[in-house]
Symmetry: C2
Subunit: 367 residues, 2 copies
DNA sequence: CTACCGTATATGTACATACAAGTTGAGCAA
DNA sequence: TTGCTCAACTTGTATGTACATATACGGTAG
């Protein structure tokens, strides 16, 4: 009797599970009563109860006092094959993130994955919290848009624990060389270059730049902006380069622009803006003076957001993959999950931004 | 002895859980043996086993045959109490939904819940799919923004299964009287009324309305628009009321507006638009003629989105709670979960939209 | 027909006992 | 000291009983 190795209550469990799997018992069927089973299998009712107790815990059965024991409905039992993927983003509602999330969501849904969403509000503490909550239940993969990237990677050690748990992850909008994961980024340096190049080719020589410098995105755009000046051998005037922090975005660029526009003799003829939001903001600033866009000031934004075409003067801007990036992230992550390639920084992608010329930039009058 | 209502094995469970929470027992501490507990609490060893069994199932304890019973390490135990809540929305990236999601997400995260997000793209089939995937693992609650509401509730039977599973849910932006759940809605009829009222009080008499009529939101706004005309005894000209479907939103309102503006003698003096997006669109339409906003045409939008202030002429519009609504939905849902009130349509909320007067509406010249 | 009351039967709680099986450490023998 | 046995613990399995409590159903009084 080799089967004796398995305790009776487990043998009974196997037997009942086979009834369920073979369809001998269907959802909502009533089980034989505890006493019936006990008699049939020549065991005591308490042992049957032990078996039923485990099967109830695992969701196969449910019991109703006075009525009997029943088989659970399928959705409660076979919950196994849907996997979950998390997205950790900085600001859910701002700007272009909804488009990224949308791209990822639809790609995931098509492939039968669920999406967990959490935002960090660019707060390291919240980032840790969010990671904790996400990993509280089985997670198949994670898409991360990191927090405050220009200051390094605060939760690095935390992300490394993902490696330990063999949870594949990738990063969007940012790349950390020290982390061995794919990253999907826009070549912001190229974007900054193209923005400045476009204006220079239109004859502009005094170009102001407004860049948020507490994330790598802003710093890279600024780098490209500077490189274009060097490349075309245009002197870059320090007083025309404004950098600001996230907290200052409502005031500093606006006020700096007003100040610049007040100096009639050394006034810039074009603005390159960190993104469309700031561009719209500076468009306002220009309007408060007697100057006009694009006649007096040409304006270039970034990201090709919905704001860019909402204005009367449609913004010239640089494209951002948005939805495509989200969808790509989802696809690559699923590929990593299915092929068990938990690392693979070679799977990343770099998107080249395209210049979209609209109405906010014109040839400068050669006087 | 009122406490006698609770079975002994549950009383013991509470007691032991309190030991864990107060730190009297720390992770990896050894528990007293089953016999010791049995003697201390004057109960049989079997009863203690029943308690220990549940606590082990729930991850608080682990047992080693021959050695004893021990307290689990934190990561193993508290993985239990993170619950998941789903949001089912029509379009993730459009317009105001990101703000709703953001409000809900931050309220949920504060309270230790995770957020599952899924969008339906206003497709009944996808709605069913999304529901399936969401419920494939334990779900504590669901926030639903229903699909195509003006045509009835296609997946009604599906939602009723939520009742059966005792999953609390609520609806936002829409109310179905036949469903016994709370709903958070904006009083769109009131909004439509206020928009028209504002223009009427500014002296406008020929007011055109553009309404999307394949959801209740649009129909209610239209209702309010009509009611205002009746209330002020202004004749409502049928040719000035345009209704369109979601698929037509890019062409029909725009073209209708152009046509209207072409008729010099019977030209309307104001537009009420279904939302800010259409308002911006019609602002474009006006610009293509030689007319101006607000001098020739006053314009009222809906929802107070970011688009409303992106334009040169800031839009007069009606407020929408957005973030607040998302946060409220999350709070109410958590309340329902914690108080086991699976039904409770009385917990809903109706938001009164406020008129936000900006630059796109002016007093009509009394000629 | 309705309201009420048993009865039968189901699960829920509680206790007692017995033995199996794994762990530990004391104590003894080589 | 080393290696062994064995007693004394632990948890695991199994069975027995008893009573509480919820449900369904049939019969009876009104």
């Amino acid at each position: 009797m080799k089967e004796k190795q398995m305790p009776k209550y487990l043998q009974l469990k196997q037997e009942i599970l086979s009834w369920l799997h073979t369809g001998r018992l269907k959802p909502n069927d009533q089980m034989p009563s505890e006493n019936e089973i006990a008699e049939q299998f020549q065991m005591s009712r308490q042992t049957v109860r032990q078996t039923f107790g485990e099967l109830e815990q695992e969701g196969w059965l449910y019991r109703m006092q006075g009525k009997g024991t029943f088989v659970s409905t399928p959705q409660t039992q076979k919950s196994r094959d849907v996997q979950t993927i998390g997205i950790l983003t900085t600001y859910i509602s701002d700007y272009i993130f909804p488009h990224i999330v949308r791209g990822a969501e639809s790609a995931l849904r098509e492939r039968g994955y669920r999406l967990l969403l959490s935002s960090t509000d660019n707060d390291k503490g919240k980032e840790k919290e969010s990671l904790d909550m996400m990993m509280s239940q089985p997670l198949s993969g994670l898409i991360i848009e990191p927090t405050k990237s220009a200051e390094g990677n605060p939760n690095l050690s935390y992300y490394l624990s993902l490696d330990y748990l063999h949870i594949p992850y990738l990063m969007i909008n940012e790349r950390y060389p020290e982390m061995n994961c794919p990253s999907l980024v826009v070549d912001d340096e190229e974007g900054g270059f193209k923005a400045a190049q476009h204006l220079i080719e239109l004859g502009h020589r005094r170009i102001a730049g407004f860049f948020k410098t507490d994330d790598l995105q802003g710093i890279n755009r600024l780098k490209g902006f500077i490189r274009a000046h060097h490349h075309y051998q245009i002197p870059l005037l320090p007083e025309l380069v404004i950098h600001y922090l996230t907290e200052e975005k409502r005031q500093k660029p606006y006020e700096s622009a007003i100040t610049m526009l007040g100096q009639a003799d050394e006034r810039p003829t074009a603005f390159v803006c960190y993104n469309d939001e700031i561009a719209i903001h500076l468009l306002e600033a220009v309007r408060t003076t007697s100057l006009q866009v694009p006649q007096d000031i040409s304006l270039v934004g970034f990201d090709d957001s919905s704001l860019a075409t909402a204005t009367e003067v449609k913004l010239t801007t640089l494209s951002h993959p948005k939805t495509e990036m989200g969808a790509d992230a989802a696809k690559i992550l699923i590929d990593m999950i299915q092929n068990k390639r938990a690392n693979g920084s070679e799977m990343g992608k770099v998107y080249k931004p395209e210049l979209i010329v609209r109405e906010s930039t014109i040839q400068v009058s050669l006087s």
